[in-house]
C-alpha cells in the first residue's frame, strides 16, 4: 500500500503520525481512504473536490500535474507539498473562481 507523508501542519489531524500507510490506486482514492482513518484530512487538502490551489502532490519526489487523478502503486511515497511555479508562485496561472464567503469591507468612497 502507498505511504502518505503527512505535512507537519496536518499532523494534528493524524494524531501526530508523520506517515500513514493507506489503500488506494490513485491520489484521490488515497485521500478518500485517509480521511476515513483520520477525519478532516480531506477538508484540509481539498476544496470543491479539487486539491487546494496552494497544494501540489509529489509521487516519489516528482510533482505531478495530474493531482488527484495520478495513479499510485503499493510502493509509492506520496507527499503534499507547497505549490510553486517559479514565475507565478502557483501551480497554475489559470483563474479559478469558486464561491467564498463575502469579504468585509469598509464603506465605499464617493465617485463624482
Amino acid at each position: 500500500m502507498p505511504t502518505v507523508f503527512i505535512p507537519s501542519m496536518m499532523q494534528k489531524l493524524t494524531g501526530g503520525a508523520e506517515q500513514v500507510v493507506v489503500e488506494g490506486s490513485s491520489v484521490r482514492q488515497v485521500i478518500r481512504n485517509l480521511d476515513k482513518i483520520h477525519p478532516g484530512v480531506k477538508d484540509w487538502l481539498l476544496d470543491d473536490n479539487q486539491l487546494k490551489s496552494n497544494i501540489s502532490v509529489a509521487i516519489d519526489g516528482v510533482i505531478t500535474p495530474m493531482g488527484l487523478l495520478e495513479d499510485v502503486d503499493h510502493a509509492s511515497e506520496i507527499h503534499f507539498v507547497a505549490a510553486i511555479s517559479g514565475g507565478t508562485g502557483s501551480t497554475s496561472s489559470r483563474s479559478r473562481i469558486p464561491a467564498r464567503s463575502p469579504l468585509h469591507r469598509p464603506p465605499s468612497p464617493q465617485f463624482h
Partner: protein
C-alpha cells in the same frame, strides 16, 4: 567530463548531439540588432489614443472621493476610468498567485477602490489624443484621501499595534483560517526530524538574523499595453508580458468577461525576470478603449515601473544551524518573514523550500510568514524568495566553516544534498547536481589561485532553484523546401525561440537554421503557461520535441506510401528516410517535404505537454573582492559562476543566463534597494539613483556549465534561468568577511552599511 584545466566559459559535457549543444545564431538576432524588432511601445494603430495613470501620493490612505470632472472637461481628453468602472468583485477568489486570492485584491491593485496601499498605487486612468494631454488630465483629477500611518517592514507590520492594511485580512495560521485580523496573511511551517534532539547533538551552533531590502527586477523595457475593445465586444491586447495567456485570463477575470473574448498578442519583451507576469495596465486600457471605441496605449515611465509594478520582497530572516565537531550539520532552523507589499502573496513559500535546499540535514524546522506592508505589491524575481534565503544560510555556513577551521567547499561537500536526500518540505530529491557543482568549484583554477593584497578576500556560496514544468503547446508546419515553421506561445526573453527550434531540429536531423520559430497570439496556439520558473527550454522544448516526433511519424508514413512498403520498415536517421525492405531506398527530409502535396497533403506536427520530472538546478559562485576600508566601496575583482544545466541546449544562452543572473545578484548584494522615507515614499525611483551595476562596475563573469542530465527531459535539459541569482549576495558577503573581517547581515552591502560594520568592529 571533469577537468582541472579550466578556461573561461567551459562546458563540462556528458553527452554530444548534432544540434543540441551547438551555438547557432539566434533567429531573432538580426531584427534585434537592427532595431526592427517590435516592442509594445512601438505599436501604432489607426485612431490610437494615449493613456496615463493617476497614482497615489500616499503609501497608505483611505479614498474618500474621486472627482474626475475637470479632467474630463480638458480638451483632448476622451475618457477617464476609475475602479467603479470595473465590475464589483463580490466574494470571488482567484488563483493567480500563491493560492486563492480575493478578486478584490487583484482588482484593487489594477485600480484602487476604497484604499491605496502604497505610494504609486493606480487610482484612475485617462485616455487622450496624446500622452501630454493625458498627463495634464491626470493632474486635474481630484482625490480626497484620508492618510493613514504606513508600515514598511515585515517585523514592524507583524507587531500587534501595527497599522492594518486590510480590515478583511485574517491570518492563515499553520493551515487553519483564524479570525485574527492582521498583516500576516499566512504562517506556515515545514518540519523534518527532531529539531531539539538535533541541536542537543550539535557541538557548535551559529544563530544570526538578516535583513534584505526590496529590490526591483530592473528590466530595461517599461510595462506597456495597447488595447482595442472592438465593436463586436472582442478585445485585442498587445503588450509586454511573460505570459500572454495569463494576461488574457486575468484581464478577463478583472473585467468580468469570458476569456474567449480576449486575444493577446505578446510583443517582443525587453526583460521581465518575473516582474512581467502580473497584469497592471491591460484592464485599464481596455476600459478606456471600451469608453472611446478606439485603441488605447499606455506606457509606464521608469518611476511608475519602480513605484507601480512589483519588485521582490524585502525580508527578515533568522537562521540557526548546529554542527558536530566532525563537520556534520545535524540541525537547522529558519524563520522567514517576507514583505508581500500591498497585497498578500510574498514569495516566501519557495524561499522556505530553498533555505536549506543544498544540504542533507536530518532535523529541520522552517517557519514562513507572508506579511503585507505599504510598499508596491511584490512579484516574482528570478528564483523568487531563494536569494534572500541563501544569503542567510550561506553566510551562517561560512561562519561555521570559519569556527571549525575547515575548507568552505569540503564542508559543503560533506553535507551536500544528493539524490535520495529528503528535503525539509518532505520529498526526496531525484537526480541533482549539487555535488557536481561543488566539485567543479573545488577543482577550478580560480578557487585554488592565490589572492594577494590587503583588504582582499575570496568567498563562495551555493544556491538552488526548483524550476517548474507547467503546460506548453507547439505546432510545426513542414514547408515544401524542407524547412519548418514552428509555432509556440512562450514569450522569448533569453533566446528560447532558438533553443526550442534546436530541439525540433535535433529530432528531425535538420539544422537550427532550417526551423523558423515564431511566438504567436493566444488564438493561434494551445494554452501555454508563463515564461517563468526556468521552464521554457525544458517544457516548451519537450513540446517541440514531441511535435517534431509527430512530424517524423507522419513523414515516415508518406515515405512508406511512396515506396509502397510497411511504415515499420522505414527508418529515419540524420535527416534521411530509408526503406529497409525496399533495397535501402533513400530520400532526404527535403526531398520528401517537396512531395507532400501529391502524397496526402500538408503535414503539421503538434503537441501539448505537461511534463512531470522537472530538474532543479544548483548554482555556485567563487568571488574575489577588494574593500576600500576608507569608503566602504566593494570592487569585484573576479567572479566565477558554476551551474548545472542538465544539458546545455545552446551553451551561449546558458552562459548568458548565468552571467545575467550573477550581475543581478551582485547588484542585489552591493547597491540595489528601495530607499524609502518613513512615509513610504521611494526616494530613488530612477535608474540614476537606483544603482544597477553596469559593465564598468564588473569584471568578466566566467562560467562553468556542469551537465548532470535531467532524466525527465529527452536531452537531459534543466532550466537555467534562475538558480544563478541565488548565491551571489552570500558569496560576496563571505568574500567581504575574508577581506576585512566583518560579517554583513543586511542587503545591500553598500558603502554606508559596510563602513558602519567596519567602524563597529574597530570599536570592539
Amino acid at each position: 567530463m571533469s577537468t582541472n584545466n579550466y578556461e573561461p566559459n567551459m562546458v563540462l559535457s556528458t553527452k554530444q548531439f548534432k544540434v543540441v549543444g551547438t551555438r547557432p545564431v539566434r533567429h531573432d538576432g538580426a531584427d534585434k540588432v537592427t532595431g526592427r524588432a517590435l516592442y509594445g511601445a512601438d505599436l501604432q494603430l489607426a485612431d490610437l489614443l494615449h493613456g496615463a495613470i493617476l497614482r497615489s501620493p500616499h503609501a497608505h490612505a483611505r479614498i474618500k472621493s474621486i472627482d474626475t470632472s475637470k479632467a474630463e472637461a480638458l480638451p483632448g481628453v476622451k475618457a477617464v476610468a476609475v475602479s467603479t468602472d470595473l465590475p464589483a468583485p463580490g466574494d470571488q477568489v482567484v488563483d493567480i498567485g500563491e493560492g486563492d486570492t480575493p478578486l478584490k485584491y487583484v482588482r484593487d491593485n489594477v485600480l484602487a477602490s476604497d484604499k491605496v496601499c502604497y505610494k504609486g498605487h493606480a487610482v484612475a486612468g485617462v485616455a487622450a489624443i496624446n500622452v501630454h494631454v493625458a498627463l495634464e488630465a491626470v493632474g486635474l483629477i481630484e482625490v480626497e484621501y484620508e492618510p493613514l500611518p504606513a508600515v514598511l517592514t515585515a517585523p514592524d507590520a507583524m507587531r500587534d499595534d501595527a497599522p492594518v492594511l486590510h480590515e478583511d485580512l485574517t491570518t492563515d495560521e499553520l493551515g487553519e483560517k483564524t479570525d485574527k485580523v492582521s498583516n500576516v496573511a499566512k504562517h506556515f511551517q515545514f518540519k523534518l526530524g527532531d529539531i531539539e534532539a538535533g541541536f542537543a547533538a550539535a557541538d557548535t551552533i551559529v544563530e544570526r538574523e538578516f535583513d534584505t531590502s526590496t529590490v526591483h527586477q530592473g528590466y530595461i523595457e517599461p510595462h506597456n499595453a495597447t488595447v482595442l475593445w472592438n465593436n463586436d465586444d472582442r478585445i485585442h491586447i498587445w503588450c509586454s508580458t511573460q505570459g500572454s495567456f495569463v494576461v488574457r485570463d486575468v484581464t478577463a477575470t478583472v473585467l468580468g468577461i469570458p476569456e474567449s473574448r480576449i486575444r493577446v498578442t505578446p510583443m517582443e519583451i525587453g526583460g521581465g525576470f518575473g516582474g512581467k507576469i502580473p497584469v497592471y495596465l491591460e484592464p485599464v486600457a481596455a476600459l478606456l478603449s471600451k469608453k472611446t471605441g478606439k485603441p488605447v496605449k499606455i506606457v509606464m515611465s521608469r518611476q511608475e515601473v519602480f513605484e507601480g509594478s512589483g519588485p521582490t520582497p524585502g525580508s527578515h530572516i533568522k537562521v540557526k544551524m548546529g554542527v558536530t565537531k566532525e563537520g556534520k550539520i545535524v540541525a537547522a532552523q529558519a524563520s522567514l518573514a517576507y514583505e508581500a507589499g500591498g497585497y498578500p502573496g510574498a514569495m516566501v513559500t519557495p524561499g522556505a523550500m530553498c533555505v536549506f535546499a543544498a544540504y542533507d540535514i536530518p532535523n529541520v524546522v522552517v517557519d514562513g510568514y507572508d506579511v503585507v506592508v505599504n510598499k508596491p505589491s511584490t512579484a516574482a524575481y528570478r528564483a523568487p524568495g531563494a536569494t534572500n534565503a541563501a544569503f542567510a544560510t550561506e553566510t551562517v555556513v561560512d561562519e561555521i566553516t570559519e569556527k571549525l577551521g575547515v575548507d568552505a567547499i569540503e564542508f559543503r561537500l560533506n553535507n551536500a544534498a544528493k539524490e535520495g536526500t529528503r528535503r525539509a518540505d518532505g520529498p526526496k530529491y531525484r537526480s541533482i547536481g549539487c555535488v557536481d557543482v561543488l566539485e567543479a568549484i573545488k577543482n577550478h583554477q580560480h578557487y585554488n589561485a592565490p589572492l594577494e593584497g590587503p583588504n582582499r578576500g575570496r568567498g563562495v556560496a551555493i544556491g538552488f532553484w526548483f524550476n517548474v514544468g507547467l503546460q506548453s503547446s507547439c505546432a510545426i508546419n513542414v514547408n515544401s523546401d524542407g524547412t519548418l515553421a514552428l509555432v509556440e506561445g512562450s514569450t522569448d526573453i533569453g533566446g528560447s525561440r532558438t533553443s526550442i527550434a534546436m530541439q525540433a531540429a535535433e529530432v528531425l536531423g535538420l539544422r537550427a537554421e532550417d526551423v523558423r520559430p515564431t511566438v504567436v497570439d493566444t488564438d493561434s496556439v494551445g494554452y501555454t503557461d508563463v515564461t517563468g520558473g526556468s521552464r521554457v527550454t525544458f517544457c516548451t522544448g519537450i513540446a517541440a520535441i514531441e511535435a517534431a516526433e509527430d512530424v517524423k511519424r507522419q513523414m515516415v508514413e508518406r515515405a512508406a506510401k511512396i515506396w509502397d512498403v510497411d511504415a515499420e520498415t522505414v527508418e529515419f536517421d540524420g535527416g534521411t528516410f530509408r526503406g529497409v525492405s525496399n533495397g535501402n531506398s533513400e530520400m532526404s527530409f527535403k526531398e520528401l517535404a517537396g512531395r507532400l502535396g501529391k502524397t496526402g497533403g500538408p503535414i503539421v506536427g503538434r503537441a501539448t505537454v505537461q511534463p512531470k520530472a522537472v530538474g532543479g538546478s544548483f548554482s555556485g559562485n567563487i568571488v574575489d573582492v577588494e574593500v576600500d576600508p576608507e569608503t566602504g566601496k566593494v570592487t569585484i575583482l573576479r567572479f566565477t559562476a558554476v551551474q548545472d544545466a542538465g544539458k546545455a541546449i545552446h551553451p551561449s544562452y546558458v552562459e548568458g543566463q548565468m552571467q545575467g543572473g550573477s550581475v543581478q545578484g551582485i547588484g542585489w548584494a552591493l547597491n540595489e534597494e528601495y530607499y524609502m522615507s518613513q512615509e513610504g515614499v521611494m526616494a530613488n525611483s530612477s535608474l540614476l539613483d537606483y544603482r544597477i551595476p553596469t559593465a564598468l562596475d564588473l569584471p568578466m563573469i566566467d562560467t562553468v556549465i556542469v551537465e548532470v542530465p535531467n532524466p525527465g527531459h529527452p536531452f537531459g535539459a534543466r532550466g537555467v534561468g534562475e538558480a544563478n541569482i541565488v548565491p551571489p549576495p552570500a558569496a560576496i558577503a563571505n568574500a567581504i568577511h575574508a577581506a576585512v573581517g566583518v560579517r554583513m547581515s543586511r542587503l545591500p552591502m553598500n558603502p554606508p552599511s559596510l563602513m558602519e560594520a567596519i567602524w563597529a568592529k574597530e570599536r570592539q
